[in-house]
Subunit: 284 residues, 2 copies
Amino acid sequence: MDMWFYDEQTDGVKLGILVEKQLYSGVSDYQKIDIIQTKQYGKILVCDDDIVFTEKDEFIYREMMVHVPMAVHPNVRKVLVFGGGDGGIVRELLKYPELDQIDVVEQDRQLIEVCHEFFPRLSASLEDERVHVYPQDGLRFIRKISNEYDLIIVDSPNPYGISQEGYFTTEFYGSCYNALKEDGIMVNQHESPFYKDEANQCQYMHKRIIRTFPISKCYQACIPSYPSGHWLFGFASKKYHPLYDIQAHIWNERKINTRYYATRLHQGVFALPVYVEELLKDVE
Amino acid sequence: MDMWFYDEQTDGVKLGILVEKQLYSGVSDYQKIDIIQTKQYGKILVCDDDIVFTEKDEFIYREMMVHVPMAVHPNVRKVLVFGGGDGGIVRELLKYPELDQIDVVEQDRQLIEVCHEFFPRLSASLEDERVHVYPQDGLRFIRKISNEYDLIIVDSPNPYGISQEGYFTTEFYGSCYNALKEDGIMVNQHESPFYKDEANQCQYMHKRIIRTFPISKCYQACIPSYPSGHWLFGFASKKYHPLYDIQAHIWNERKINTRYYATRLHQGVFALPVYVEELLKDVE
């Protein structure tokens, strides 16, 4: 018997993936959580019927969220991660031994537990003594903090999920700005520029972030399991410019093991196609 | 009633696209040809059940095949296109008024006729007086030619199609080498590096091309309707280096209208992710 999982990427387009086995299905206080074993993508975490990550290409998303800002900021010590309950972002952060503290805000305890069971290699990173997991609402967490973090990573699903709405408001970005030190950087997942609905989300976010941060650029990666495969990230910064301030030589000397990111890619990931530049300029 | 077309991207992965209307279905001497009207991708040409191009994202593939070499080679006059029966590649080439001659080798007459009917705006380019269409076998066409073209564009489906096998042999690449002038460039579609089967095809081609040309580099684009969305192209050259010899200033002054390519992207598209570099190095 063939079982197929279909991820509805946008209205009228879906990615079908052959399922070998259903490993888990449950409903938490915040979302539906499914884990499937597949031939091409390994294990896949699906929340509310959308792919969150797959074992085969999760390294692309996580490396791009972490190493791009880490190659620019010269002295990151304290990091805040929103929504990193699976541990993937933290795994990449732990490649930098100089970090003193990594705070993870993930309100869905059940998601953390399920990932701990089915993705133990990712989840293990959350047990490092420098990592603190706060199972609470992100917006409430960030409101009271000021001038504390060098880097904030917003690793959250699309803006229209019920539990995630707060992560895409002007208020949230303003709170992140306040929580960052005077040379801090915020990185966020920024949706795909290709299909109309996702391109609208992309514009929606960009419009709010450029109002809040003096430096705000988008960069890109090819992530095959995500809608269209063409994925954007936001780089918002108080002081450092993503292109002029990259410390490529220093990053290269660290010999960090990666499978996607390298500093020779750094300029290129910020060089967006004409149609994507135009999409973003429309709201600038 | 909902009708879905499923493009089998690789074993166990398929892209589903909602069909509004089936416009054409026929069988030529070489392949099955279908054209469908879809909500998200406009009209789609499907040959032997695989997407050849869609109205929504065909500009990415065509622009990347044409403008990358045209921004490097300082004096292209005579171009040969393999498999450009739909006219898309030629449309981009005609943005360069200095071209004297464009030869198109497309053995499937029926494909040309069908495209003429359903994609008249693309197909119109084939009626330019500088364009000559040769409805014959590509390998046979190229064998007898030497030192004639400045640029050869190999716009052909994957290497395992029955009618296409000849386009992926060492003999074919050697014939292209001979048919090029002493400073000529060959560009070819180079498959996706992501899924295992396509990555193998990618290596297969790369191995043969690097044996034939002194300069051989791969470059990339995000093409959402193609398997994985992460697509590679080959740039094989007798003299000009794709990065050191780009004439960005001259190309920019031409004010060519594009939606994906710009010279500010040029370096970046050759900066491949670590895992792709490793894939290619394996056969170098």
